[in-house]
C-alpha cells in the first residue's frame, strides 16, 4: 500500500482530514457520555424514590 | 328512554391518575351532581362525558353504545359548558349566542328567548367586551338552552353568578329535566335540584 509517513502527515490535506475525524470522535463520544451520565443520574434518582416507597413492585 | 352511563372509568391526565373506577348512570329526566374537592376529577369526568378526552379504561355509553364509536352523533346530544366562557369580546352578545346556536343547527330556544330566560335580554346588542364576569357566564349558559341537546354537561355553572341567577338556573335545569332531559353538574354550592343523584369523587388513590 502507501508509504506510512505521507499518510500520517497526509501532505497538504492533513488540516482537513484530521479535524474531520477529531470532530466526529468528539461529538460521537460526547453524545455517549451525555447519554450514560443521564442514565446514571436517572437510575440513582429512581432508586432513591423506590427506597422511599418500599412496597411498590406491582407496577414495574 | 335514553340511558347515559359510565362504568369503571379510569383516567390519567398528564401522567397523574385523576379518576379510577368512576361509575355512574342516569336516565331521561334525571340529573347527576358531581361533588368532590379540587382536583378530585369533576372537570375531567365532564370532559370525558363530552368526548373531549378518552378514558384509559372503562367506557362511557349512550343507550349501550360507546360514545367514542360515533363522536359526531354524541356531539349533537350534548351541550357542554366548561370553565372558560368562550365569549368573543369583539362580537355583540347576540352575535356570540347565535353563532353557537346556528353552528349546532339544532332546534332549541331562539337566541333572544335564551337571553331573556337568563335575565340578560337587555344586553343583546352590547359588545361582549363590556360584560361583567357574571354576565359573560350567563351568555355562556345560553348555549345549553339554544342547543336543544338532551344532555347538559355543566362544569361549575354557578361560578360568578349571584343568588337570583343561580335560582333561575335551577329553574331552567328543573324544566329541562321535566321535559325528559338529563344533566350532569359539577358544583361546590348546593343547587337544590328536584330530582338528582349524587356522585362524590374522592382523590384517586
Amino acid at each position: 500500500m502507501n508509504n506510512t509517513e505521507t499518510i500520517l502527515s497526509m501532505t497538504k490535506h492533513a488540516g482537513y482530514v484530521w479535524p474531520s475525524y477529531g470532530i466526529a470522535a468528539l461529538v460521537l463520544v460526547g453524545l455517549v457520555v451525555l447519554s450514560l451520565r443521564a442514565l446514571k443520574r436517572t437510575r440513582a434518582e429512581l432508586e432513591r424514590i423506590e427506597a422511599q416507597m418500599p412496597r411498590d413492585k406491582d407496577e414495574a | 328512554m335514553a340511558v347515559f352511563s359510565g362504568h369503571n372509568i379510569d383516567c390519567v391526565r398528564g401522567e397523574r391518575q385523576v379518576l379510577s373506577g368512576a361509575t355512574f348512570s342516569l336516565e331521561s329526566g334525571a340529573a347527576l351532581v358531581l361533588r368532590g374537592a379540587n382536583g378530585s376529577g369533576k372537570s375531567t369526568l365532564l370532559r370525558l362525558m363530552a368526548g373531549l378526552m378518552r378514558p384509559v379504561a372503562g367506557a362511557i355509553t349512550w343507550d349501550g353504545e360507546d360514545i367514542a364509536d360515533d363522536p359526531h352523533e354524541h356531539n349533537r346530544r350534548i351541550a357542554y359548558i366548561g370553565h372558560a366562557d368562550a365569549v368573543k369580546p369583539a362580537l355583540s352578545v347576540t352575535e356570540n349566542v347565535s353563532f353557537w346556536s346556528e353552528l349546532s343547527g339544532a332546534g332549541g330556544m331562539r337566541a333572544t328567548e335564551a337571553l331573556t330566560a337568563l335575565g340578560i335580554g337587555h344586553l343583546a346588542d352590547l359588545p361582549a367586551r363590556y360584560l361583567s364576569a357574571g354576565q359573560r357566564r350567563r351568555v355562556t349558559l345560553t348555549r345549553m338552552l339554544t342547543s336543544g341537546a338532551p344532555l347538559w354537561l355543566l362544569d361549575e355553572p354557578t361560578t360568578a353568578l349571584d343568588q337570583d341567577t343561580s335560582d333561575a338556573l335551577r329553574g331552567l335545569i328543573d324544566r329541562h329535566l321535566a321535559s325528559g332531559g338529563m344533566a350532569v353538574i359539577s358544583t361546590h354550592t348546593d343547587l337544590g335540584l328536584a330530582s338528582s343523584g349524587l356522585l362524590t369523587l374522592g382523590a384517586a388513590s
Partner: protein
C-alpha cells in the same frame, strides 16, 4: 410481538442482554474501519487524502436519513397503536439523528474547503441536509416545549410525519433549484466512480455507525423508561 416487548421490564432485561454484544461489534467495526480508512486505503488520484473524509461523511449522511425514517416509523406506530415504547424510541432517536446530521454537515464543509476552495457551497445535498438538521431541531424543540410530556410527544409525532412527507419534496426542490442556478459538473460530492479498495472502509464505517446507533438508542430508551417510572412515582408521592 410488539406488545410483548412493550412491557418496560421485559424490554430492559432484553436490552441489557443485547447491549454488550452491540458494543463489542461496534468497537470492532470502528477499529477495522478506522484502520482501513486512515492507513490502508488508496489515495484518490483527484482528491488526494481528502477522500478519507468521505468514510465519515457519507455514512453520517446515510445515518441522518436513517434516523429520521426510524423516527417517522416510530411516531406512526406510537400514533396509530398508542404504543408507548415506540414513542420513547422516537424521542431517543432524535438527538442521535441530529448529531449525525451535524457531522455530515461539518465533514462536508471540511471536504469542500480543499476540493472547492470554500467552506460552504449551496450544493443541493448540503442544502437539503441542512434543512434536515432544522427538522431535527424543530422536533426536539417542540417535544421540549410542553409542561406535560404526553402532549409534547403527541404533537411532535404529528410534526415528524408531516416532515416526513415533506422531506422528498424538499430534496427534490433543492436539487432542482440548484441545477437551475449552477451546473452540477464541478460540485459533485460523489466524485469519480468509486475504487473497490475504498468500499471496504466505507462499509465498515457505515456498519460501525449503524451499530453505534442501535447501541446508543437502547441505552437512551432505557434511560427514558426509567425517567417515566420516576415521574409516575413522583405523581404518586404528590397524590399520597
Amino acid at each position: 410481538m410488539l406488545h410483548y416487548f412493550a412491557n418496560p421490564t421485559r424490554f430492559q432485561r432484553l436490552s441489557r442482554r443485547i447491549e454488550p454484544w452491540l458494543l463489542v461489534a461496534m468497537i470492532l467495526c470502528f477499529a477495522f474501519g478506522l484502520y482501513f480508512a486512515l492507513f490502508s486505503s488508496p489515495v484518490d488520484y483527484q482528491q488526494g487524502h481528502t477522500v478519507r473524509i468521505m468514510y465519515i461523511h457519507v455514512p453520517a449522511a446515510w445515518m441522518a436519513l436513517f434516523c429520521y425514517t426510524a423516527m417517522a416509523v416510530a411516531a406512526a406506530v406510537a400514533m396509530i397503536w398508542k404504543h408507548a415504547l415506540a414513542d420513547v424510541a422516537a424521542k431517543a432517536t432524535a438527538p442521535i439523528g441530529a448529531v449525525f446530521t451535524f457531522l455530515a454537515l461539518v465533514t462536508g464543509s471540511l471536504w469542500g474547503k480543499p476540493m472547492w476552495g470554500t467552506w460552504w457551497v449551496w450544493d443541493a445535498r448540503l442544502t437539503s441536509v441542512l434543512v434536515l438538521f432544522f427538522l431535527y431541531l424543530g422536533y426536539m424543540a417542540l417535544r421540549d416545549a410542553f409542561d406535560e410530556p404526553g402532549r409534547g410527544a403527541r404533537a411532535s409525532a404529528i410534526l415528524v410525519l408531516v416532515g416526513f412527507v415533506n422531506v422528498p419534496i424538499i430534496k427534490f426542490s433543492v436539487d432542482w433549484w440548484n441545477t437551475l442556478h449552477q451546473p452540477s459538473s464541478v460540485l459533485r460530492m460523489d466524485g469519480p466512480t468509486i475504487h473497490p479498495d475504498m468500499l471496504t472502509p466505507l462499509f465498515l464505517m457505515a456498519a460501525a455507525f449503524q451499530l453505534y446507533y442501535f447501541w446508543l438508542v437502547l441505552v437512551r430508551i432505557r434511560r427514558e423508561l426509567m425517567a417515566n417510572r420516576t415521574r409516575a412515582l413522583r405523581h404518586r408521592q404528590a397524590a399520597a
